[in-house]
Symmetry: C2
Subunit: 206 residues, 2 copies
C-alpha cells in the first residue's frame, strides 16, 4: 500500500476528477442567510448558520466549529521506540496514550514548525529529520480545520518539557512493534493519533 | 499488520497495563466546580466546565462537546467496488467523498444496526455480512463520543435512498484498488472515513 499512499495521483487523475462533476451544483444548494457566534474562546469559535436550500425552498440551521489547523507527530528514536504522551482528556474523562499533538498558534503559518514545537514542548525530544505524511480534514461535516501528520526520525531528548500551566503530560516510550497491539486493545484510541501512527508505519514499511 | 490489528491483546496485556499506573492520580488533578451548557440542539450539547486543579490550585475553563456515538461503514460489492457518498459539507465548504456514516439515533443502542441503517438510508445498498472493525475515540480532548467502524461485504442495491430533507447525497462506486490513490490525492479527506477504509483494507488484507 505504501507506494500508492505516498505518491501523488498520476495516470488516474483524469478519471478521479470525474467524480466531482456534480460539485458546483451541490455547493450552490445552500445559501447562508444568517450567522451567529455561539461561543468564542481564544482560537476557537462555534457558529450557527441559518441556511436556505435554493431547490427545496427550506431553511435549516447548521452548526460549525472553527479551529486553527492541528498537528500530530510520531517521534521515533534510533532504537525504534515511539515517544507517546499520556494525559487526562476531558472529552472522555480518561487518561489517554497519544502521539504529541496540538494546534497551530495564532499567526503560526507552518504546520511542520508547529509540530516540532509541540514535540519539544510536550516531550523535550527533537529531531533534525522531519517527514511530512500529509493532512486530513479533522471532521468536514462540522469543522473547518485540517490535521497535518508528521514523522520525526531519530529523535533525541534535548530539553525539559515546557508545558502550559493547565497541562500535565507524562512520557511513555513504546516499541514501534507494539503499536498495533496498543491500537487493537484500545489503549491508543484517539482517531487522529491512530491515523498518524498508521501513516508513519506505512511510510516506514513496518 | 492485520493479525496484530485485529486480535485482542494477549501476552502483552500485562506489560501494557503498566503504562496506566499513573492514571488515577492524573484523573484526580481536576475537579469540576461549575458546568454550563453553551448550546444544545437535538442530540448534541456543548458545555463549559470550570475546573479546579487540586495540586496547582488554579481554576481553568474546559470546553466539551457531547455527541451520541458515530458509525462509519465501508460497503463493498462482489466486484470489489466501494460504495462512497458524495455530499456538501458545511465544515470545509466543499463536496467530499466519504464512506456512509452517521450518528446513532436517540435511544438506538446497537452501533452495528445504526451503521446498517445509515448504509441503507444514504445509499440504498444493504448486506447480510457485516464485520465489526473496532472503534476509536473521535477526539478525546474535546468530545465524549466514539466512532464505530464496519465493513459490509457483498452489498447489493435493495432500495431507493431514504434521505433526510436536509440531505443531498450522490453515490459513487470506486474500485477498492483506487482507494489509496483517492486518499493520497486528498479526494477522500475525512479522517474517520480514511481510518475506516484503512481498517477495512487491513481486514481484507488488500
Amino acid at each position: 500500500m505504501k507506494e500508492n499512499m505516498m505518491k501523488k495521483l498520476d495516470s488516474h487523475f483524469g478519471d478521479v476528477n470525474k467524480l466531482y462533476i456534480g460539485e458546483i451544483d451541490m455547493k450552490n444548494f445552500w445559501e447562508v442567510q444568517d450567522r451567529k457566534i455561539i461561543y468564542k474562546s481564544g482560537i476557537v469559535s462555534f457558529k450557527e448558520e441559518k441556511c436556505y436550500h435554493t431547490k427545496k425552498k427550506i431553511i435549516h440551521p447548521f452548526f460549525k466549529m472553527e479551529f486553527l489547523d492541528w498537528v500530530n507527530i510520531v517521534p521515533l528514536t534510533t532504537k525504534e521506540e515511539v515517544v507517546l504522551v499520556k494525559q487526562y482528556r476531558f472529552g472522555i474523562n480518561e487518561v489517554t496514550l497519544e502521539v504529541p499533538a496540538g494546534t497551530l498558534d495564532k499567526g503560526e503559518q507552518d504546520p511542520q514548525l508547529a509540530a516540532q514545537r509541540e514535540l519539544l514542548e510536550e516531550t523535550g525530544y527533537s529531531s533534525n529529520d522531519i517527514v511530512s505524511l500529509g493532512k486530513v480534514a479533522a471532521n468536514p461535516a462540522i469543522q473547518n480545520n485540517y490535521c497535518h501528520f508528521y514523522l520525526a526520525k531519530d529523535v533525541i531528548l534535548t530539553s525539559e518539557q515546557d508545558l502550559d500551566l493547565t497541562e500535565d503530560i507524562d512520557i511513555e516510550l513504546v516499541k514501534l512493534t507494539e503499536i498495533d497491539s496498543l491500537i487493537s486493545s484500545g489503549q491508543i484510541k484517539h482517531s487522529l493519533s491512530i491515523l498518524n501512527l498508521l501513516y508513519a508505519k506505512e511510510y516506514l514499511n513496518k
